[in-house]
Symmetry: C2
Subunit: 462 residues, 2 copies
């Protein structure tokens, strides 16, 4: 498949410009103010699949944002690849930390991306990464080299828990039938250290509301005499970890799989410099669960983090007030075998139990999903491994990621097929952060690698 | 002085309308967006003092907001009363909890105010209360009954720590020379239980900034591996109180005066219903320092409260982010003998000490002031007591307040005179809260009572 490189060289500018158009729409699924933008983005994705050569292209309505479906069937007897991605993005705030507007993509060089990177919200997560598949399929169709059938399912609610996807998948098993699922929504270790994600963490995301007195109070007249919801919330959050940073929720670790020394040894082989890690984040020291390395803490161990907290007076200057209410958004990353709904229940019961008299607690689950581990002895994994080897010149390393893509376990359950996570982003691409970006090199490398997967997978399947 | 009641009956509507005009201007000193409104309010106060009959009226510029000065001298040999008040107000947020716009005053009846109360930010704190003095002086001047000299000093920075006042007072000792200072910026126990505030708490108000990683991070990829500034801030705030709700800052209690059993017995005599208190706040239980009653906790004991906290994603929906920064506004109420600057230093040192590796801490003092206790055997107190007795028909109870009016101790230091705190508001007037209000009855009762103070004070002084 030599001429993929030639095709990329000829169409490089168009590939980038098309992605720019997609990145210009603020498809923020978490904020209803942007709902029309999310819907407009679905339309643009539909158009792009049509132009890539899909025969069937549909906007599938759901209770939430639509799912864009595309299909190119060349022979019922050949294998079918299902590509999943999402066209919605995270909220861009804090806005003031962006060096350029989040929805006005620009190309800038970085130390890790000497060939330049596209800076924009969604550049890497996930518009840039799912669009690699659209362009790779375009190449195979236009050059009559598509070796099997392909289906696309691009959703618009991934950043808010894929609320509508499970019903859609369960209701369309025939339509979505496939032999392997491809997702590019993760990262790799480095441009010269290709890796394939073989594990994901689950997620339970809740919001807590703490109510003390029925109104804001003057801190002079009431200070010290009533429970201050912010002080109490801080105390309760603090109590969720012990002195070794173990999570204190009863039953939280019951189903956590402990890796063998051998497995941990394998993990430890992945190149990692604590010094570089700390320098990149400008921190004096890492911090986390006692007895585990940094790479273990963010992949094979469950965690609990406050993602947002607010209460009382947060404006300029000073206000001597005791707030009536305080709030926090708390998420827990889970490992395989931990059931996110059970964990959500355990958290809720525990949090309500530890609330002192004098405050009322309300816990509202936002969303969640199960963790996932994929075997590396499947045709899918081996085909992916060979594809990387072909384009990177070296074997990819299997890697457990700390992130969550809840739908992966959903797919296995509903469609009975495995998922290959071919991520081409880097951890330093600042996804979910200001100045998110995606390397031009990585974008094009993805487009180059994907057709090889189709080739090897079809070959090995026959 | 019978005809004060007659004068009030004749001018009641005008007294209320004039106060409404003052309340309509959002003189929020904490928010620079309202600076022109604060300045316009000073102009209106100046005009009102002129119309009340002051001979000298000036806007005195400072490094911050101006101080309005007024004076009516009838005889150098007679005593002089200095009236202090403030025309700035607290920020009104949370706006959505107001039943009517904070700067569009309306009169509504309440269970405690059957004759109606004026609802507006500043109605009680302190526009309504300092304006009682303007109207009381107007009465005495217009009816040729002013028995002594009077001076007004109305500032515009009380809600942000009276930043410019100390320099002004220190630089104008002759101009501000007086025999007694009158302030109505506190409350009384109930309309049928008059009280005079004899003690105030000091204040130290700081803002803390916690920095973890140098940018917001994806909580999946980094969760559990780096110090989360919000989790750490919660932990540090929680550690500031022990299991008995004693404050844990080393040296914090060193200078705290412990009251005798006798003094505490006297305090306990003030009418108080824990049941009503809890019901009014809709709380199942009070909460505070072990070994002290509610009335002790909010008056004779120092406290530490978080007045505001924020960090991470606080918008709609969910965002799986580990914030780079988290913030809190923290205030400590202090009792007499605790020095606010020393406490601020102790807090800062302690807070920096307990920060774990992996985060950076910045503590910024906002403002502060000393506590104060006034004796009850002075001419000033006895004159005030008789004035209340005349208009309420019963002796007022001396009461320690939990609030802070830092300038009271400043006045004693710089001007060598005592202060009488004649507050006519009620704790239920929701100052610093949404739906702040001030009873019409209380407003007029203040105007009625104040002239009697002038009469008795002059009489006793001769």
């Amino acid at each position: 498949m030599q001429n993929i490189q030639h095709y990329i060289a000829q169409n490089k500018d168009r590939f980038i410009n098309e992605l720019f158009e997609l990145l210009k729409i603020p498809s923020i699924s978490a904020d209803s103010a942007f709902s029309q933008d999310v819907i407009n983005t679905a339309e643009m994705v539909k158009k792009s699949l049509k132009e890539a050569g899909c025969d069937i292209v549909e906007i599938c309505e759901t209770d939430g944002y639509p799912i864009v479906y595309g299909e190119k069937t060349i022979d019922e007897n050949l294998p079918t690849v299902l590509v999943y991605g999402h066209y919605d993005v995270q909220p861009p705030d804090p806005m003031d930390l962006w060096n350029s507007p989040p929805f006005e993509p620009v190309i800038k060089e970085t130390s890790r991306h000497p060939d330049g990177a596209i800076f924009a919200r969604g550049a890497c997560d996930d518009k840039g990464q799912f669009y690699m598949h659209v362009k790779a399929v375009e190449f195979m169709i236009k050059t009559d080299q598509l070796p099997c059938n392909v289906k696309f399912m691009i959703e618009g609610e991934e950043e808010v828990g894929s609320k509508s996807l499970s019903a859609f998948v369960a209701g369309n098993q025939a339509k979505l039938a496939n032999d392997i699922i491809l997702i590019s929504d993760t990262g790799m270790i480095a441009n010269d250290v290709p890796s394939i994600t073989t594990g994901l963490r689950g997620l339970s995301y809740v919001e807590v509301e703490m109510t003390g007195p029925n109104r804001d109070l003057h801190s002079g007249l009431y200070g010290g005499a009533v429970a201050n919801p912010i002080n109490v919330l801080s105390k309760m959050i603090a109590s969720l970890h012990d002195e070794n940073n173990h999570i204190t929720i009863p039953g939280f670790y019951d189903k956590v799989e402990e890796l063998t020394a051998e497995e941990r040894g394998e993990m430890a082989k992945a190149p990692f410099s604590l010094e570089d890690y700390q320098m990149a984040l400008d921190i004096e020291s890492v911090y986390g669960e006692k007895g585990y390395t940094t790479n273990e803490r963010n992949s094979i161990r469950p965690t609990l983090d406050v993602n947002g907290i607010w209460g009382g007076y947060i404006g300029e200057g000073a206000k001597t007030v005791i707030a009536s209410k305080a709030y926090a958004k708390i998420s827990m990353r889970l490992v395989p075998h931990q059931d996110w709904q059970e964990i959500t229940r355990l958290f809720t019961e525990h949090f309500e139990n530890i609330a002192p008299k004098g405050v009322k607690v309300k816990v509202t689950p936002h969303h969640g999903g199960q963790g996932y581990v994929t075997p590396i002895d499947t045709i899918g994994y081996r085909a992916a491994s060979r594809a990387y080897e072909t384009t990177f010149g070296k074997k990819p390393i299997p890697q457990r990621s700390g992130g969550s893509i809840p739908i992966v376990s959903l797919f296995e359950k509903e469609l009975g097929s495995k998922t290959i996570l071919m991520g081409f982003g880097l951890d330093s691409d600042a996804i979910h952060s200001p100045n998110e970006h995606f390397g031009i090199w990585n974008y094009l490398k993805g487009i180059e690698t994907i057709p090889h997967f189709y080739h090897f997978f079809t070959e090995m399947s026959s």
